[in-house]
Symmetry: none
Subunit: 254 residues, 2 copies
DNA sequence: TGAAAATTGTGGAAATTCCAACAATTGCAT
DNA sequence: ATGCAATTGTTGGAATTTCCACAATTTTCA
């Protein structure tokens, strides 16, 4: 049965929520499958961003709930905040704002909550909704869809259909990789929603820190001609910068 | 020098806060010491409870504070869990399940994630979505709408319109008050969504602990004839029990 | 200073994991 | 039914880790 693989996957995740790490050999014995199968399961779940491998096993990827993540992100927190401020400056005249998901998007959401009012924010990210929600002068609209655990956001057909029926002044999106071809996300489901968002907004702002430069291990969700502004925290590589210019993308280095 | 060991220990912990796992060989190379030394460092830090070993490396021990937080959410946790278990028993044959918001609903969501599969859960609560989302065999559909900060859930016209277009086998709702007139919620926006949910499900299960009995400071969102089952943790007052009987509401005391 | 204690390095055998290629099996569609 | 694609098992060799005993070095303190 094809179902068995998915069952194993959830069992792995379940085991991982009860222990800080699991081992290939242990799970293979426990599930009655070969170690290679577990190894392959790990590969898939790694691609999905749900766990990360160790030698001989795997550990849960730290989601936002975990303390360590906050610490890890705090390394880039200052950069993200600078990026977020510049981004919000750029869209300060918006009345309807689409915001994607990701750590940078959350910082943008915080800035929006702190500085804007009389505005409607539409998002598919739980974290963004919660961050903007603290300001009662900002209306937050949640996009429907299938819940995506790795990113705590909604995806899929419902999300895309919902987006078709609305208009926004700006869309602000993060990226897990930015190449000369365009910005991308590691998860195809998220990339699809991003694409749909872009089609509904008059202008598009991409916000990503320098660590994303030339990271292509991701699904591209837009081409540069569709992007109005790219906000980052350091000068991009020459070729990328050239591509931006030739596509008339406004570059903001915060 | 004795200092070097402690330095290494802090460096190990630092490295561990920047990555989800570290490897013996890697650290040995990085610190310029033998792998045995790193191994012994790991042993000590493990005894101190600061990390836990994996084959070939180590990971940070999960912060028990985080787990405790959700548990500490209420003294009524045990009761809520009993109620949740009985509730899930009641809807175990469902293929599409609507779940409302609130602390009890979250416990139900946990039970669903732990025990059911091949099912679709539709909800407007962030917490419920996150709780069910850990099980990848359960599809979680998020309802759109205006974000309601107090309950971390969606409300309003978009939510209600969205609900009109779907069908569910069961709807499970909490309540902030349960009177002879019916279950109610303290927030009108939530009550409206609850009402809409009820109209789309074949059967309705209300789950509420005894502290909600005869609490009428709320907006009633349903009449008893619409309710199939009422799950609670103690025998309700005589009059309420009588009302349930006369409306053929199945009473479950967990 | 000198000896005990703590710390670290070394070396080799045993156990474990990884990887890649290939075979067997299962589910699904034409 | 037949063929294709996806999933899983198997195998063997290379690479890595572990474990243990013992030696070398440094620290402590009497």
């Amino acid at each position: 049965m094809r179902q068995e693989k998915r069952e194993r996957h959830t069992k792995i995740l379940t085991a991982l929520s009860g222990a800080s790490s699991v081992r290939v050999a242990e799970l293979a014995r426990q599930f009655g499958v070969s170690t290679e199968t577990i190894r392959r399961d790990f590969d898939e779940l790694t691609r999905g961003g749900q766990l990360s491998r160790t030698y001989g096993g795997a550990v849960r990827t730290l989601d936002s709930r975990h303390h360590g993540e906050a610490e890890r992100q705090s390394i880039l927190l200052a950069e993200r905040q600078r990026i977020a401020k510049a981004t919000v400056d750029e869209v300060a005249d918006a009345r309807i704002l689409l915001i994607g998901c990701g750590a940078t998007a959350v910082q943008v959401a915080r800035q929006v909550a702190a500085r804007l009012k009389d505005i409607t924010v539409v998002t598919h990210s739980f974290a963004v909704a919660a961050a903007v929600g603290v300001n009662h002068l900002v209306e937050v609209m949640m996009i429907p869809g299938l819940y995506h655990p790795a990113k705590a956001s909604t995806t899929g057909g419902h999300a895309i259909v919902f987006l078709q029926s609305l208009y926004a002044d700006y869309v602000i999106l993060g990226a897990s990789g930015v190449t000369q071809d365009g910005p991308g996300d590691s998860l195809p489901e998220i990339a699809a929603v991003n694409t749909a968002m872009m089609s509904r907004a008059a202008r598009c702002v991409i916000a990503a820190d320098q660590s994303k430069f030339n990271l292509s291990s991701s699904t591209r969700y837009a081409d540069w001609p569709q992007v109005s502004t790219f906000v980052t925290d350091a000068a991009p590589p020459a070729e990328l910068q050239k591509t931006l210019e030739s596509n008339r993308v406004k570059l903001l280095v915060a």
